[in-house]
Symmetry: C2
Subunit: 242 residues, 2 copies
Amino acid sequence: MPANDHPPLWLRPAHGTRGPKPTHSRRDVAVAGIRIADAEGLDAVSMRRIAADLGTGTTSLYRYVSKKDDVLELMTDEVMGELRGTVLIGNWRSDLRTIARLLRQTALRHPWLATLSSGRSNQGPNSLWWMELSLSVFDGMDLSTDDMLANLGTLSAFVLGHVLRELGDQEAARRSGLTHEQWMKQQGVYGPTIVNSGLYPRFTRVINEAETPHAADRQNRGFEAGLERILDGLAAHLPTRR
Amino acid sequence: MPANDHPPLWLRPAHGTRGPKPTHSRRDVAVAGIRIADAEGLDAVSMRRIAADLGTGTTSLYRYVSKKDDVLELMTDEVMGELRGTVLIGNWRSDLRTIARLLRQTALRHPWLATLSSGRSNQGPNSLWWMELSLSVFDGMDLSTDDMLANLGTLSAFVLGHVLRELGDQEAARRSGLTHEQWMKQQGVYGPTIVNSGLYPRFTRVINEAETPHAADRQNRGFEAGLERILDGLAAHLPTRR
DNA sequence: GCTAACTGGGTACAGTGTTCGCAATACCGA
DNA sequence: TCGGTATTGCGAACACTGTACCCAGTTAGC
């Protein structure tokens, strides 16, 4: 058992009672990190950079946080705070749809969020609040906790996976300076090679037909379609009503 | 349009025809990277480390590859090669199930794979072959390419998302030196705080009931259950048979 | 055989996260 | 009111990272 040398972030008091009052707060650190990540990507978020934006010394940040991962956790939970105020109407299908859409929108607004929340699950107050709200969808239905978690897990796995692919496509298109259609059409100069090889007839067809109209909101429609299919699938195994 | 200073990996010839024969191959580099990543995690994969394992100079690697991202792409495609030889039986539901399971098993065997394939889509020959195989599931059904992509997208988004969560849980448990049950039960010493706060009654119930028997294969059952629900959902919108 | 292309690899540079030590500060108990 | 002590801010330093640049040695094509 490799004893953690640092106690978990959310257990440690934000600051002591003895010495001088801290100049900033954990929230300041999180907000600065979010601003940088939104504007320049997650890679631009470094301790030195955050400190510079905050106008403080680099290693002063370690008074608020014991490792960089803590900063990322703070950022994640701060963003999850944007979901506070969400109200559900009491119909599981409609509520799960709302949850999925809000999650996606938040993740698209902060393109680094999905990457971060891929791995570890956040324990911050806002994340816990969101978890609690999500669980409340099943209030009154007679489900085991395992079933509730399985349902939520399936849904959020879909949302997470879908958003990650959306963002991947966006970045690929952006970094080649092409629109989605142009990019699909020639796959970054690689397309012709794929087509000409003759090895991938079906994929070739996908490339060639990639110029359907209104492709701008293809992602939206793809998400909505997938979401409905998932809700259909869940419905088949859930009590009929509530 | 930020012109790419480096041509795409798969377009450049692996080596020239003029000078001395290269000592190693791209494949050697990929395999070395995979060995390191499997054994010590993705963070342990550095250019210096790969070079050391290969018994060559660090910067010599840049004869095979123009940036580290290329190495990661090579690693991904090499692993996708493990899926060659997959045979489908011609029933879409059964075939999609096979695809999802194989994808998950591969991603669990190489815990870094899901993280990598989150973002950009791989263009390597093995990845293309797998894409082609996946598309072949819909042979004979009369689907638009958009529908085919939407279906595959929903499925693979679920697999990716689910595997990422599995791996996240595994690592969280491993890094705290606890079993999944113990970890769920006390959330790394944080659980009691959550419970005592009284703010999260539903989540508290989840924590308290987290000690169901046979929890070892909970992930397996969760995956299979979610998978079937997704297939159910797809079935509702697909032509009846093939 | 000569030239041009190519490979191997050392050096160097600008970053990174994080530990350590020290001065300044402000609360707590006496 | 006055130490004593916990706490903050922060510069210096360390061990890393990816990779651009350079040069020597090697081989294929003309």
